[in-house]
């Protein structure tokens, strides 16, 4: 059974441990047991129910995305979601106070589950993250209560940030925002939870369960700002975002009854049955493949692994890993010289060898031949490239995954991440040098489905690095001195307005040919790594499944016909051979 059940000192302790899975999934079996357990609560014997996890890195990660893939009608959505809605309602209607004891990821329907509870307490570890994944990862309207109850917990403005704009909150921020009532250190979470529950039993902690919004100025302005922002996002996402915002607006007017439920069901049906959601599920699968390969393909080493490096890139990664403590796999045992050159982080260091075992390379440097290296191409994003020619770094990949990074494997002579970034930057630069405006580039990227566009990407990379990567991508065939690329990138780094740009289908085709080149020629070890890199670094849209799946031979042939003549000959030749071989990347 998914829940382990224990009744102790007038409290029912429910510990979720999804069998056979590394994370907790609120699946049908969990839903059925939840209803049964809530019905069995006898207030004469039990004065509170605590829901906690047996997996310290996962409170609840999801509800099982397989469901989303085949529902095709409103009736199916209603029928398939019914067990979940009943389970969530049963928690909400529980006759005694309910406590969500949140350790680890509290994502999507996990957060919606916690919102059904009277009280929320969270463990202060990096693994504890609050995030609504429905829109950002699956392009679907959430159904299990967030549009109804999140504004009551954190206010409308912050609910919009979580739901629509994909903010991730750690435990401390969740406390500041009012999403949880208490935060306790990871190491002392169990006694802190006991103490919290005793206070709940004494009636000293008010219930967080409310549907009415707290008094908040500027509700109308917040809604108007969100609607204006929705206009700037790619059209293929707009309906789902608008429908979600409409539901939040209903809540802001206090309409959280049957009409809200009816509209939520309609909106969820429209989104989950849309091809975008089906495609987004495919991207979930691609991510899982990349993650499984990174942690699985290589054999486990006989010894621990030391991660070393000098210079700012290494130091920032080490700082990041330090901030993500306490994760058992990422322990900092020894530091030489403290933060700065010479800092050493030891990973799983029981019998670690020399600290140069795996090296973090400086931002633009290539991998060291014959040496396992790590590249963090865009700091701030959860994507790391592990260049592992000897394929013996599985423990490190697992440790980095547990620390919240998406890890892609590569081999060869350069980093696939640098190639992919260059493949987006180079055509944008050549377009500007050919007389296009940044507004047109922005409009084209919006058309392709990119949320984050050039100013954000260049801002994250810096103009010098972006110019270097664009110049490398153009290579010997079309040499472009970095200073000239930098001039174009300085223009592209300025805020752009897609409305002022012209419609440029040929630029879209040009971008696709470059991205195909990046995908086919990159040194990543597997197409799923290419796809995760395209998603995390370039923001290639989940609504188009994945870059490799999107670039089918017919689409590439159309791009060859429509792209401008300035596309370099080697790229055309490579695209031509791919398109006429009629062989998709994925079977």
């Amino acid at each position: 059974m998914p829940f382990q059940v224990e009744e102790r000192a007038e409290v029912l302790w429910l510990t979720l441990d999804t069998p056979g899975a590394s994370v907790n999934i609120f699946n049908r079996a969990t839903a059925a047991q939840t209803v049964q357990l809530m019905r069995s609560v006898d207030p004469r014997r039990v004065r509170a129910v605590v829901i906690r996890t047996a997996k310290p890195a996962s409170f609840i990660n999801g509800a099982g995305v397989l469901l989303v893939t085949y529902v095709k009608t409103s009736a199916e959505v209603e029928m398939e979601s019914l067990p979940y809605r009943r389970a969530y309602a049963a928690v909400r209607d529980c006759p005694v106070p309910t406590v969500a004891a949140i350790e680890g990821n509290c994502w999507g329907c996990g957060l919606e589950f916690a919102l059904q509870c009277d009280h929320r307490i969270a463990s202060d570890s990096y693994a504890t993250q609050f995030r609504m994944t429905e829109l950002s990862d699956y392009v679907e309207v959430p159904l299990l209560g967030s549009t109804r109850y999140l504004p009551g917990a954190v206010g409308l403005r912050r609910a919009i940030d979580l739901l629509l704009w994909g903010e991730r909150w750690g435990a401390a921020q969740a406390l500041r925002e009012g999403l949880v009532q208490e935060v306790a250190p990871h190491a002392g979470f169990a006694p802190a939870l006991d103490a919290f529950v005793r206070r709940v039993l004494r009636g000293e902690v008010p219930s967080q369960k409310r549907t009415k919004l707290p008094a908040e100025a500027g509700t109308a302005e917040a809604l108007a700002r969100a609607r204006a922002r929705i206009e700037t996002i790619p059209p293929l996402y707009q309906r789902t975002f608008t429908d979600t915002l409409d539901l939040l607006e209903l809540t802001s007017r206090g309409e959280v009854g049957e009409e809200h439920e009816r509209q939520a069901l309609l909106a969820t049906t429209a989104s989950t049955t849309h091809p975008s959601a089906k495609a987004a599920y495919g991207m979930f699968h691609v991510r899982q493949t990349a993650a499984t390969l990174a942690a699985w393909r290589a054999s486990a080493p006989e010894h621990g692994i030391a991660l070393g490096g000098t210079g700012p890139a290494a130091v920032r990664l080490f700082e990041e890993l330090r901030a993500r403590q306490p994760l058992p796999e990422v322990r900092i045992l020894a530091e030489r010289g403290g933060p700065g050159p010479g800092t050493t982080v030891l990973v799983d260091p029981g019998q670690a060898r020399a600290p140069e075992d795996v090296e973090v390379t400086p931002a633009l440097a290539p991998p060291t031949p014959g040496q396992a290296t790590v590249c963090w191409p865009l700091e701030g994003r959860p994507f790391l490239e592990l260049h592992a020619p000897r394929s013996t770094r599985s423990e490190l990949a697992r440790a980095l995954q547990r620390a919240g990074f998406e890890v892609a494997l590569s081999g060869g002579y350069t980093y696939g991440s640098h190639q992919m970034l260059g493949a987006l930057l180079a055509p944008a630069v050549t377009a500007i040098l050919a007389g296009e405006t940044p507004h047109t580039v922005d409009r084209t990227l919006r058309e392709l489905g990119m949320f984050r566009r050039m100013p954000e990407l260049i801002g994250a990379l810096g103009i010098r690095a972006a110019a270097e990567l664009a110049s490398r991508a153009l290579g010997a065939e079309e040499p472009l001195p970095p200073p000239r690329a930098a001039m174009a990138l300085a223009l592209l780094a300025q805020p752009a307005d897609y409305r002022q740009g012209r419609e440029a289908p040929e630029l879209l085709e040009e971008l696709l040919l470059w991205l195909l080149m990046g995908a086919l020629e990159s040194d990543f070890s597997h197409p799923s790594s290419v796809d995760v890199a395209a998603r995390e670094l370039l923001d290639f849209p989940v609504a188009r499944l994945s870059l490799c799946a999107y670039l089918t031979p017919p689409r590439v042939r159309a791009a060859l016909n429509g792209a401008p003549r300035r596309v370099p000959a080697p790229i055309r030749a490579r695209a031509l051979s791919y398109a006429w071989a009629l062989r998709k990347v994925y079977r």
Partner: protein
């Protein structure tokens, strides 16, 4: 590739990717009978890739199913047969 050969390959991949020891049969339903979830499907795709030597995505097979119960070992073999390239 012959149908029986393909079925054997699919059975091997399903067996290898399952969370517990199983003996898959063509009529077995992956979700209902064999306990597969979305995470386990990724492992299955990798096992199929190891057999075929080409990356595999299973989302088309899953999305085309009328219900989760339709995801059987046999339907997977049929899907793979339809997507095999000539000569493999």
């Amino acid at each position: 590739m012959q149908d029986t050969e393909l079925m054997q390959m699919v059975v091997r991949a399903v067996r290898e990717s399952a969370a517990r020891p199983i003996d898959p049969m063509p009529a077995h339903r992956l979700v209902d009978d064999l306990g597969f979830d979305s995470l386990r499907m990724a492992t299955l795709a990798i096992c199929l890739e190891n057999e075929l030597g080409q990356p595999v995505l299973l989302n088309d097979w899953i999305a085309a199913a009328p219900s989760l119960s339709s995801l059987t070992v046999e339907s997977l073999a049929t899907h793979m047969a339809a997507n095999l390239e000539p000569g493999i």
